[in-house]
């Protein structure tokens, strides 16, 4: 991995002992991760590592049909099996509240209600209809085999465009429509711009169906404690403990105070674990019914068939342009194949709406319009998965821009630069306000990273030899720090509340609790870096606590690249209060004015008077036990503060570039070089940022070339194994070229912006553009992902038989 940074960040990869000095000591440094020793030695504690005494194991009976009426469920043979303890169906769970997907706080979104186990109709392959409890997971599956379900298959709705037509079969009759939401927005004179355009480019693009597929699947361990009114303890492999509690409590019919969600170490999530699923409700409910703790571990088939799917979107993209290459209007229509249920809480709008609402991206186009539709189909629900709708939106727009460049005879980099916004704060036509960025700089850096001019020469030479190389670019803007302001600006208004507690313990060590969550992002480290700098303490004395609603301050969880902004901000809000009290205590102890005190390296010093200092441990003891000598607010509030933080809108940006070679005989694509330029504002830990970008790029390669969740014409799901759903492995992800630029946010605490999804957003379009560039002698038009060898051969075969292919050697 070629690493380079244009910011004054440290180059050390193994620094754990920082150099002393005022100001930031840890933020910006490549500190080794605090989480690593336990994870490396196999001492992480993940969901399936949890065992409770008397625990039973659950296996779900699921629909093999895409759409079917449940005629009867006969558990008798299963119950007769030694070791099977119980079988429950929907009628055993009628006491629960409904699972409701209400969607964002706006009009135009249909709310959908469901029962956690299907009552009368199963709506997708994998829809759960019953659950078996047994003494071991092996016996639970044996029992599952013996549950006899009589089905009446119904015609499945599989074509999302057809599902929008009036009079078509309804996936959920109670809704009276298949369309969860039709939204439109138009700014400027879009019609006029298209009417006056010298050139209109119009493309269609079908972004394929992929998913998060973390190596650790989902899981729930629940027990119901029948004391003091009853209380659920739920261990869940989730990204969002408090939000999950909020969503689950009304369904379980308990006040939130009687539901505890505990997320242990989580083995990756990428959005799989930021929805509320039927299993999240069923397992606690049947633990209560059975009077025993219950564990359910999702298996890989269930994960692929019945977790969340993502990004399946039929896009139409139009660009109006003048002859000289100025893009005057964008117009897009985005239809998300929403699956059978509107996922809770993010709904399919997390794909369609974000594709539309951010359409203008880093370009100065002022006339922009979009429409989105979200038809239900008899497939797995769409959820929020890494990159969400920004991925298909990016594909549609960037592929169209390359097509425009080809049509106008312009260089694709030049055309983009010509239309790009400047680095200043900028408000888009739809009203999003970017907090400064490096749009042209990142595209130029990406261009330089692939040695563009030299590449074009190499490309020409290769073509003479019958080899097809191509290059593609994909500049992007990514909303990060997703909270109330960003959500409102994106047309998905919802309230967000994120807090952190900062506590100085009696011995001077620091405990931070946060409503964020870490499942690979290293927040135990980066948030400790932030805290240590805020309070001037050594990092080793800081502990970051999260994951358990009983012990962590409230927050909305980690997804949408939000944690750097929310974490830094909320810790700052709380730390500032605690620091102020520490400073005044120290001033009293050192008999000086509080303006003379600085906190450095775990002690309070008097500026300019070496030797006049008191360690934090003594200040803390004074703060706790110093009696009436302490300031009033310290006596009342102690050395702890819990505060919330609501950021303004922050936007990361960057550019992806890909150099590929296409084997035109077999349709295979080899990625020769994949570049990511990332500007996520001030960097907390450069190693962690690079890791996030690299992982996201690998996911982007998967989306472009490998990952596909497919249904047959009869609704059968054929991608339920890892032999069909293909992860990029070491041989599909080359050495990556990663560059960073740091344009500090003008809006957030510390100037951070957030990272996590960028490579997933940029890479697919860069790779598609590179393939189309490679195959431009054939005139092929790529209209979907993944670009499988089969698909590319199909396009090439058509070109060959049209006579539009170059003569073979």
């Amino acid at each position: 991995m070629t690493l380079e940074s244009t910011a004054p960040a440290s180059a050390a990869t193994s620094a754990t002992t920082p150099q002393p000095g005022p100001g930031a000591r840890y933020v910006g440094r490549a500190v080794q991760r605090v989480e690593d020793p336990r994870l490396l030695s196999g001492r992480g504690r993940y969901l399936d590592d949890i065992t409770l005494p008397g625990m039973l194991h659950a296996a779900f009976v699921r629909s093999p049909h895409a759409h079917a009426r449940i005629i009867s469920i006969d558990p008798s043979e299963a119950l007769a099996l030694d070791g099977v303890v119980a079988v429950y169906t929907a009628k055993d769970l009628e006491w629960l509240g409904p699972m409701v997907s209400a969607g964002p706080m706006r009009e135009g979104v249909v709310a959908q209600s469901r029962t956690p186990l299907a009552t009368a109709i199963a709506r997708h392959v994998g829809d759960p209809v019953a659950v078996v409890l047994a003494r071991s997971p092996y016996l639970a599956e044996d029992g599952r085999d013996l549950v006899d379900v009589e089905w009446e298959p119904l015609p499945p709705v599989l074509d999302p465009l057809a599902a929008l037509e009036p009079g078509t079969t309804l996936v959920d009759e109670a809704l009276g429509t298949n369309n969860i939401s039709h939204l439109e927005q138009s700014v400027g004179d879009v019609e006029g711009a298209f009417a006056e355009a010298d050139h209109v480019t119009r493309i269609r693009f079908h972004s394929g169906r992929s998913t998060a597929a973390p190596i650790e699947c989902r899981g729930v361990v629940a027990e119901y404690e029948d004391r003091a009114g009853g209380r659920y303890n739920v261990h869940s492999s989730t990204q969002m403990p408090h939000l999950l509690r909020m969503l689950m409590a009304p369904v379980l019919e308990v006040p939130e105070g009687r539901l505890s969600i505990k997320a242990p170490d989580v083995g990756g999530a990428f959005g799989l674990k930021c929805s509320m699923f039927p299993e999240d409700i069923v397992i606690p409910a049947v633990a209560r019914l059975a009077g025993r703790p219950v564990k359910w571990i999702e298996d890989r088939w269930e994960d692929l068939a019945a977790g969340v799917h993502s990004k399946d979107m039929h896009c139409t993209m139009e660009i109006a342009a003048t002859a000289d290459g100025t893009m005057t209007a964008f117009r897009g229509h985005f239809v998300t194949d929403a699956g059978a249920y509107s996922s809770i809480p993010f709904t399919p709008l997390v794909d369609s709406q974000v594709a539309g609402a951010y359409l203008s991206s880093c370009y100065g186009v002022q006339n922009v319009a979009y429409a989105v539709d979200n038809p239900l189909t008899n497939k797995c629900q769409i959820g929020a998965v890494r990159g969400v709708g920004w991925v298909p939106g990016q594909l549609a727009r960037e592929v169209a821009i390359d097509q425009l460049a080809r049509a106008l005879g312009k260089d694709p980099v030049e055309l983009r630069l010509q239309n790009m916004i400047g680095p200043e704060v900028y408000t888009t036509p739809f009203g999003q306000t970017y907090d400064g960025g490096s749009y042209t700089a990142s595209l130029e850096k990406a261009r330089d990273a692939v040695d563009y001019a030299a590449f074009r020469e190499r490309q020409a030479e290769a073509r003479e030899e019958g080899r097809y190389l191509g290059v593609g670019f994909s500049p992007f803007v990514e909303p990060t720090g997703w909270a109330t302001s960003s959500a409102a600006a994106g047309g998905l208004p919802n309230g967000f509340f994120d807090t952190a507690s900062v506590t100085v313990e009696p011995d001077g060590s620091v405990t931070v609790t946060t409503g964020l969550h870490s499942h690979g992002q290293g927040h135990e480290t980066t948030l400790a870096q932030v805290t240590a700098d805020e309070l001037g303490v050594p990092m080793e004395s800081v502990r970051i606590v999260f994951g358990d609603t009983d012990t962590s301050a409230f927050g909305m969880g980690t997804y949408a690249s939000r944690s750097a902004v929310l974490g830094f901000g909320s810790i700052h809000e709380s730390a500032v209060q605690v620091k102020d009290r520490l400073v005044r205590l120290a001033a009293a102890m050192l008999e000086t004015d509080h303006t003379d005190i600085e906190l450095v390296d775990g002690a309070a010093n008097v500026k300019g008077v070496p030797g006049k200092s008191v360690p934090l441990q003594q200040i803390a003891l004074f703060g706790y036990f110093g009696g009436p000598a302490r300031p009033d607010d310290v006596q009342r509030d102690g050395l702890t503060a819990t505060s919330g933080y609501s950021p303004g809108e922050t936007y990361a940006n960057g550019c992806g570039a890909a150099v590929v070679e296409v084997d035109v005989r077999t349709g295979q694509v080899r990625i020769e070089q994949l570049v990511a330029v990332e500007d996520c504002g001030v960097v907390l830990n450069p190693t962690i940022v690079k890791g996030q970008v690299a992982g996201a790029l690998a996911n982007g390669i998967g989306i472009a070339l490998l990952e596909d969740l497919a249904y047959e014409d009869n609704g059968e799901f054929v991608s339920g194994s890892l032999l069909h759903y293909l992860y990029p492995s070491t041989t599909e992800v080359p050495d990556l070229t990663l560059h960073t630029i740091e344009t500090p946010s003008t809006v957030s605490v510390g100037g951070v912006k957030g990272v996590g999804e960028a490579g997933t957003i940029s890479a697919p379009a860069a790779i598609v553009n590179a393939v189309m560039d490679a195959l431009s002698p054939f005139g092929v038009v790529v209209e979907k992902t993944p670009m499988t060898p089969e698909y590319l051969r199909e396009l090439l075969r058509a070109a060959e038989s049209n006579g539009s292919a170059p003569a073979p050697d």
Partner: protein
Amino acid sequence: MKPPTFDYLRPSSVAEAIEALTAYPDSKVLAGGQSLIPMMNMRLARPTALVDIGRLDDLSGIEANGSLKVGATTRQETVLAHQDVGGRWPLVTSALTHVGHPATRARGTFGGSIAHGEPASELPAVMLALDARFTLRGSSGERVVDAQDFFLGHYTTVLAEDELLVEVEIPDASGSAWGFGEVVRRHGDYALAGTAIRLDTEGDERITQARVALFGVASRPIRSAAAEERLVGTRLGDAAAAAAAGRIALSGIEVAADSFVSAAYRHDAAAAVVERALLEAASRGRGES
């Protein structure tokens, strides 16, 4: 995904193994388990008994005097690492580097990969290309079957329910030119189309005998009679002959269309791998690789 219940039998001799297969009608042989156990975990295979032959010394071992004799339960990695195999049967070694991954080769057996009958796996096609002979032993005794006659269809071979593949014999192939190629989505995956090729020449490199074995294209590994006929009499390395052989490689063969790829794709992919493997065979030389 947990497997269903089965009885576990560990015979201490080949004869006991055969007795067990006979006594337990729904039993299956367990050698490396790398193909069988995933199917059992997914409950696609539900044998009520497994006969574990993985520790039978009689079935393991490599002899390379003249012909190559490989005991059926020899681990794939052992064959891969064997000097004589690499020296005189490089087609076998080359194919093995594409079979799964190190962890599956450490447990998977040479015979298991052949007897499983997966049409997209590499070794069966290599056996066809090298005219291998398989020694089978069952309750009615021992017999030797040519590779050409062994594979019947998807997961189906001539092995009777009470028969074990005991040994694979591959005649001396030094002096032959060879080629190997496959189209896979990722390294180690099952092939969408693949070929194992062995060519004998005389004098001025004219091809006297060709074996063009294909895998991943039909319901079983299969030789392309059309490609082989086209090649005989041509010079090793002749580009036009290689291209022609590739183009007709699937004639007369019922090409599979499945959840992975279409028949049309297999035609294109097979043409490419056959042509390229033929050209590589020429540039590589023969025998010692």
